[in-house]
């Protein structure tokens, strides 16, 4: 079995090399041809198929000018990316008795189950799922790893994925066959965000989003005499909140629903997002934790972390925010409050938060809300689900196929899983082609109506500019994110000052840095 695996991978690698050889030869030949070719020549397509053990590679080149060259294949500029014959696997001849196992956190189990059925049908496979819900998902999954349980695919957040690779629980996605083709199709920002310390891709995309989405309530803004005005930075947002409070539009409870609930994806991610935007420091290495993971923030005027926490506290002191959020352990309280339509701006979980806001079955401001565009400052931090690949799997090849099928393409070469999530839940993916697909756009239009085009463009901009904290690659973060929310929560509940909160957060970060990197 091991020998078989190696030979198959070797074969794929050989095929890759052959393909690259063909492309290089083609480019050289094409360049030569360009120099001697005729500009008036008709367009032609040349196709060549290279077969290597285990894989077939087809190279398609558009010939724009007739050339006379010698070489294995005739191509001209511009060179295009060769496409592989997909899938690089064959369905199982006999349905395996031992099922593969997928551990996930269970959002929309109906879509998951539907995808599982398609995967099994296309590959004559056997796949079981296990759902772990609740905020201790990471702990439960790590318990499984420690207990030596075999499973083949697991959802993970980016920081979990980095941690699991480091602990030797999961493979990086670099070991997947044809990973270079997968990477070639991804947003650059997502690829960077998914890469670990060594630059290896930690997993493939289940979804990628930016959080906390900043959404405006059009109706209340109009009542406040600010129709169509949207903030271009955090400072502008806070100024607008003050003006809105003064104008006291009818039906308003508070101007702002923040994303400050007591959980790591609440206050901590809000802080990461805002600091990255304000400091124009997408990986936060200048403003929070350096490349060596040493903390760089401080409780001093001019420090972006300190200024951000201080500004938040001012918003609380000036009674501009919905305080119920501070006494919540998840985003539900804030989200439901915003959907009542009694707040001018809200920060909701992920870009999908906007999608749900536009759902008339859930929200009173459906059709009357706008996703604030990224203009001067980035507004979000990456919020993602990755398909991670456990090392202790049932079968290397079968589990690799599973990850590629869900995280990239199915047997027919379609992004089946990503399409479905994008169409039904506005869950973005690492593959821009999916987001720009007319089918997906039509599905969005059914809910977003005339706001579809602007929202699609804006959400891509959010994804291109979102923060991807470098610190997520350190074990320091895992412990810091458990302690930091308490301090910020205390500060926002007016129990301690911003200076005390930031000093204490720094102190904890220093201790953790010594523990892990000192």
């Amino acid at each position: 079995m091991v020998e078989n695996k190696i030979s198959r991978r070797k074969a794929i690698s050989t095929a890759g090399k052959v393909a690259i050889g063909v492309v290089v030869a083609g480019v050289v030949a094409g360049a030569g041809g360009y120099l001697v070719g005729s500009a008036a020549a008709p367009v032609r397509t040349v196709e060549r198929t290279v077969t290597a053990p285990g894989a077939t590679v087809t190279v398609e080149k558009t010939v724009e000018r007739t050339v006379t060259v010698t070489g294995p294949v005739t191509v001209t500029t511009p060179p295009t990316t060769p496409t592989i014959a997909w899938p690089p696997w064959k369905p199982e001849p006999v349905k395996p008795a031992v099922p593969l196992k997928w551990v996930h956190w269970g959002y929309r189990p109906d879509i998951i189950t539907e995808n599982i059925e398609i995967f099994m049908r296309q590959n004559n496979e056997n796949l079981e799922q296990e759902q772990i819900t609740g905020p201790d998902y990471q702990g439960m999954v790590e318990t499984k790893f420690l207990a030596g349980e075999k499973f083949d695919m697991v959802y993970g957040n980016a920081f979990m994925a980095f941690r699991w690779i480091e602990l030797g629980f999961t493979n990086s996605a670099e070991e997947l066959p044809h990973i270079e083709w997968v990477k070639a199709e991804m947003f650059e920002s997502v690829k960077r965000a998914y890469s670990d310390k060594q630059g290896r891709l930690a997993g493939l995309t289940y979804f990628v989003s930016a959080t906390p989405a900043l959404i405006a309530n059009d109706e209340l803004l109009e009542k406040a005499g600010m129709a169509g005005e949207l903030p271009r930075s955090h400072a502008e947002l806070y100024d607008m909140l003050r003006k809105i409070k003064q104008r006291a539009p009818e039906g308003m409870i508070k101007p702002f629903v923040p994303h400050w609930f007591n959980a790591f994806w609440g206050t901590v991610w809000s802080l990461l997002a805002e600091v990255a935007g304000r400091a124009k420091d997408p990986d936060l290495t200048k403003s929070m934790f350096g490349k060596d993971f040493a903390p760089t923030f401080d409780a001093a005027p001019g420090d972006t972390v300190y200024e951000t926490v201080s500004d938040w506290r001012k918003l609380v002191d000036e009674d501009l925010v919905e305080r119920a959020v501070i006494s919540a352990s998840s985003d539900t309280v804030g989200t439901e409050a915003f959907w009542t339509g009694s707040y001018a701006f809200g920060r909701l979980n992920g870009l999908y938060g906007y999608w749900n806001t536009m759902d008339p079955a859930k929200s009173r401001i459906a059709g009357k809300a706008t996703l604030v565009p990224v203009v001067e400052e980035a507004l979000g931090v990456i919020d993602t689900g990755l398909y991670c690949w456990p090392k202790n799997n049932h079968d290397f090849d079968r589990s690799a196929r599973l990850i590629l099928w869900f995280g990239y393409k199915d047997n027919e070469g379609k992004h089946t899983s990503a399409y479905k999530w994008a169409k039904e839940e506005f869950l973005h993916t690492a593959y821009p082609a999916v987001l720009r697909d007319p089918d997906v756009q039509r599905a969005w239009e059914a809910r977003l109506g005339p706001k579809t085009k602007e929202t699609a463009e804006r959400s891509e901009k959010w994804l291109e500019t979102m923060a991807a904290p470098w610190i997520w690659r350190s074990p320091l973060y895992g412990e810091w994110m458990v302690k930091a929310p308490d301090l910020m929560a205390k500060c926002l509940a007016q129990e301690i000052s911003p200076r005390e909160a930031v000093s204490e957060m720094r102190k904890i970060a220093d201790e953790l840095w010594k523990k892990y990197h000192g």
Binding site: P135, L167, R323, A324, S327, S329, A337, E479, M481, D486
Partner: protein, 294 residues
């Protein structure tokens, strides 16, 4: 032919229970005690015995001390509320009235709900933006604007109230059972002697329901000290850390921070506290019994 003595039958019947109990309680508890004397870190590949260091660290951990104070307040509040609700509703249900059976079914319903569901209901009831309680008070003209109940200084009492609402039905039925053992004549005699309602309760009723009340108190103490769902769902320990109990804090340290040794030490310290509290209940009972015997 095997001769089935009573002892053998008992062993056979108890063995599965013992295995289950060993696997699900005894072994995990013993292992967590073992963990509590270690410093464990997956990343640093560390599993070092550190003696009682984790316990010492707990005493200097401000968050743990604060969580202990919140826990004590929550346990006292909820135990008192459970007892008051249980006794008063049991006394009401003990009287004959039309629809008594239906009332008994309705009363037990909160106990049939999971703690999670109760907490979710609590979150909606007391929500500061669209909560049911706020809506009622506002419509009745009792408040001018909605109150952020879950962000108030009395958030622990609100949590205790919801917890008592969930647990009281159990106490009600314990106490109701005790009330039904009181001979009717005793109450009649006391009434003829001119005893007031409170005197009759103290002299006639209380001795009959004393053990049910104490059992309810013990259960309420243990259950409220170890609850985490109620806090997680209703407040997330907030505002700030005002409602963060030990169990919730340990849960965060153990499952989110994955500091296994420290989390285990924290839970053992909580257990010691609970053992002390429960032992005091039993000391009170046995003292009282001795006094009665003399």
């Amino acid at each position: 032919m095997v001769r089935w003595t009573d002892t053998k039958v008992a062993i056979v019947l108890l063995t599965p229970l013992f295995i289950l109990n060993f696997g699900l309680s005894i072994y995990p508890m013993a292992y967590s005690l073992y963990l509590s004397f270690h410093d464990i870190n997956l990343f640093l590949n560390k599993f070092e015995p550190v003696g009682g260091l984790q316990y010492l660290k707990l005493f200097s951990d401000k968050s743990y001390v604060e969580a202990t104070m919140v826990t004590i307040r929550f346990v006292i509040d909820s135990t008192i509320m459970v007892l008051v609700l249980s006794i008063s509703i049991a006394l009401l249900l003990n009287r004959a009235f039309t629809g008594q059976s239906i009332m008994r079914v309705i009363v037990i319903m909160p106990w049939a709900l999971s703690e999670f569901a109760t907490a979710t209901a609590g979150r909606y009831l007391f929500n500061g933006s669209y909560g049911f309680v706020n809506a009622i008070l506002y419509r009745l003209g009792l408040i001018e604007r909605y109150i952020d109940f879950l962000g108030s200084p009395y958030v622990v009492e609100l949590l205790a109230f919801m917890y008592a609402w969930h647990l009281a039905p159990l106490g009600i039925f314990f106490i109701l059972a005790g009330l039904q053992t009181i001979p009717e004549d005793l109450n009649k005699q006391a009434k003829i002697d001119g005893a007031s309602f409170f005197t009759r309760f103290r002299v006639v009723t209380l001795p009959f329901i004393r053990y049910a009340v104490i059992m309810t108190g013990i259960i309420a103490t243990i259950e409220s000290a170890r609850t985490a769902d109620m806090i997680i769902v209703m407040t997330g320990g907030g505002p700030g850390t005002s409602s963060q109990t030990i169990t919730f804090y340990i849960y965060k340290v153990f499952f989110r921070g994955l500091d296994l040794g420290y989390g285990a030490a924290g839970s053992w310290l909580l257990m010691v506290g609970l053992i002390i509290a429960i032992t005091s209940y039993f000391i009170v009972i046995s003292k009282r019994r001795r006094v009665m015997q003399y």
